[in-house]
């Protein structure tokens, strides 16, 4: 679901760190307070950075921080600013022509039926996609965890392959399989006297076809996360449950499953964000068609911004998407903290 190979990792980390950040914040606050208590300029007494602590740490973090600021934090501010203007391709070359138009882009956005359709489409993908990915990847992880033999470990790689495949290659491969005239799927259906199915040309089918590719790609990563969690469940727990006469099924639901809570939470949050940002598969397979049936929010923004060059309007859309993602993530974090 990610826009390229790397984002999977970074988005994945996104929420891990989000969660970690909550635990981390009080600690760093404390260390800052303790730093303030000392004389200004003097480094805290603990740790190896005691000597020459003045510029050295800043020099170490500077290159990465400059890059992150330039391509992470600054863009948010720029987007917020641009969303209040009528910036288009002409404005890029001629900054004087850019006009400040207040919230007009947002007003236009909320009156735009295309925007609402994109929002509904994204909602459809979230509702269908999230449970499917979680169920499939958890099932595969549990199955892979039945045995630690070499054979089972070799099988893992097969499930992970789609996750590391370039999206463009994915598009070509699946486009070929889905092709309505000579694609393998329709040819196989024809063998048993069915079809042809318009995999990418019928609006409803196209949605499902595109979602299937996304599930195929996203399952591997989540399977690995569940697998890592399953392997951290102490063996003694299972032995104890077995001694108490618990069956395999009971053991899973009563012992293993509760211990997967964090992994499950993590996968839910990242998968949800992934579907909210759903872009790659519809972009490469259908370009959002037919008749906008697979145009997600992200694709809507991309089309307005880069095909139509309405940067101001697209920025407004991207901030609305950002707000939705932030709210959904915050709700989930809140639910988790009341849960514990």
């Amino acid at each position: 679901m990610t826009h390229d190979g790397g984002a999977g990792g970074s988005r994945l980390g996104g929420t891990a760190v989000l969660v970690g950040a909550r635990d981390d914040a009080p600690m760093s606050d404390r260390s800052r307070r303790s730093a303030r208590r000392r004389a200004p300029g003097s480094a805290p007494a603990r740790g190896p950075g005691r000597r020459r602590a003045s510029v050295v740490p800043y020099a170490f973090i500077a290159p990465a921080l400059i890059l992150l600021t330039m391509f992470g934090l600054l863009p948010i501010l720029v987007a917020a600013g641009v969303s209040l203007t009528d910036l288009d391709i002409g404005g890029l070359g001629n900054p004087e022509t850019i006009r400040f138009i207040g919230l007009a882009n947002y007003e236009r956005l909320f009156a735009d039926p295309e925007f609402w359709q994109a929002l509904r489409t994204t909602g459809f993908f979230v509702v269908v996609g999230v449970p499917v990915i979680i169920a499939v990847s958890l099932a595969i992880a549990v199955a892979l965890n039945t045995s630690q033999s070499r054979f089972f470990r070799a099988l893992r790689a097969f499930y992970f392959l789609p996750a590391i495949t370039a999206i463009v290659a994915v598009a070509l491969i699946w486009g070929y399989l889905y092709n309505s005239q000579f694609g393998l799927l329709n040819q196989l259906l024809a063998q048993v006297g069915l079809g042809p199915v318009g995999w990418l040309s019928d609006p409803t089918t196209a949605r499902l076809s595109v979602a299937l590719v996304a599930v195929w790609r996203a399952t591997g990563l989540n399977t690995i996360i569940f697998l890592a969690a399953l392997q951290s469940v102490p063996k003694e727990y299972h032995e104890a449950a077995a001694l108490d006469g618990a069956g395999r099924w009971t053991t899973f639901w009563r012992v293993t499953f509760p211990l997967l809570r964090f992994a499950l939470f993590f996968v839910t949050v990242t998968t949800l964000i992934g579907w909210l940002q759903f872009f790659d598969e519809p972009y490469v397979l259908t370009r959002g068609g037919p008749v906008g049936a697979t145009t997600s929010m992200s694709l809507f923004i991309f089309q307005k911004g880069f095909s139509l060059n309405q940067f101001g309007y697209a920025s407004a859309g991207s901030l609305v998407l950002f707000a939705i993602i932030a709210v959904v993530t915050a709700i989930q974090l809140r639910m988790r903290s009341t849960d514990d």
Binding site: G47, F151, A166, A169
Partner: protein
């Protein structure tokens, strides 16, 4: 739970998983076999699984008729530039893990915050920023936006925090400077995490599509992914050529992944995802 009682279940699960693995990887098999077929056979009804007369013609055409040689070189350059980002992330991870300094908490929080920002928000502004810096349509511009990831910094910090302070102190007592300590002590000790990050960086750089698409406007700056997407516009013309291009992109990644698989799974375990 004796082994004897588990046996039939393990065999049944193994069989199911094998079927699933074959289904999951079938598109790749289809890709490779189709790339070896002559164009007419790729469109044949009924389809053949194995090519009747396998040939590497399509691969040759990618390099002779199309400019895939240049795309390949560009992609390798982008991947290599990614190595700079790797070093920056390792340094930042070390800075956050092993020094205490003013603003550390706030700055680290800032790093983590960048993870919440969806790429669609940064797409347009990043283009504008790169345009300001005159980096559009350059390979540096293509690589720059994804050079550093907060996730990478986080992983490095987690790992480097486990390096004993005594080792660093000993190096300093021996008169090693801060940079030398980092280079000679910290980096060699961080090999496992470096391996994970190097593989992830390689995969990300190799596969990256969106930024090259936006930033590279001239053909001679295209990466493999962008070049391949050009073939996509000719879907009815030549599936063989498309599958050959796809294989060219996918097979190296599969090789890298299979070689480093162990480290990647470890990497996720190390990051404390339990």
């Amino acid at each position: 739970m004796t082994d004897r009682r588990r046996r039939p279940i393990v065999v049944a699960v193994g069989a199911l998983l094998t079927v699933g693995a074959l289904a999951t990887s079938f598109p790749f098999v289809w890709m490779v076999t189709s790339s070896l077929k002559p164009p007419s056979e790729a469109l044949a009804v009924p389809p053949t699984l194995l090519p009747r007369s396998p040939s590497l013609d399509a691969y040759a055409r990618l390099f002779t008729e199309l400019d895939f040689g240049r795309y390949l070189v560009n992609t390798i350059v982008v991947v290599l530039i990614g190595g700079v980002g790797l070093l920056a992330m390792a340094m930042a991870g070390y800075g956050f893990a092993k020094y205490r300094f003013r603003g550390r908490g706030v700055l680290f929080l800032l790093v983590l915050m960048t993870l919440m920002i969806p790429v669609q928000v940064t797409m347009i502004p990043t283009y504008l920023i790169l345009n300001e810096l005159h980096l559009t349509n350059t390979l540096v511009g293509v690589a720059a936006p994804t050079l550093v990831s907060a996730f990478g910094i986080f992983l490095f910090r987690q790992f480097m925090a486990t390096i004993p302070d005594e080792l660093l102190e000993a190096a300093r007592l021996d008169g090693a400077g801060e940079l030398r300590t980092f280079w000679r002590i910290v980096l060699p000790l961080s090999k496992p995490i470096l391996a994970v990050q190097a593989v992830l960086t390689f995969i990300a750089g190799w596969n990256s599509f969106l930024w090259p698409l936006i930033i590279a406007t001239d053909q001679d700056k295209y990466t493999l992914a962008v070049g391949l997407s050009l073939l996509n516009q000719q879907i009815t013309v030549n599936p063989t050529l498309q599958m050959a291009g796809s294989s060219l992109m996918v097979v190296p990644i599969i090789v890298v992944f299979v070689c480093f698989q162990r480290y990647i799974v470890q990497g996720f375990t190390m990051s404390g995802l339990k």
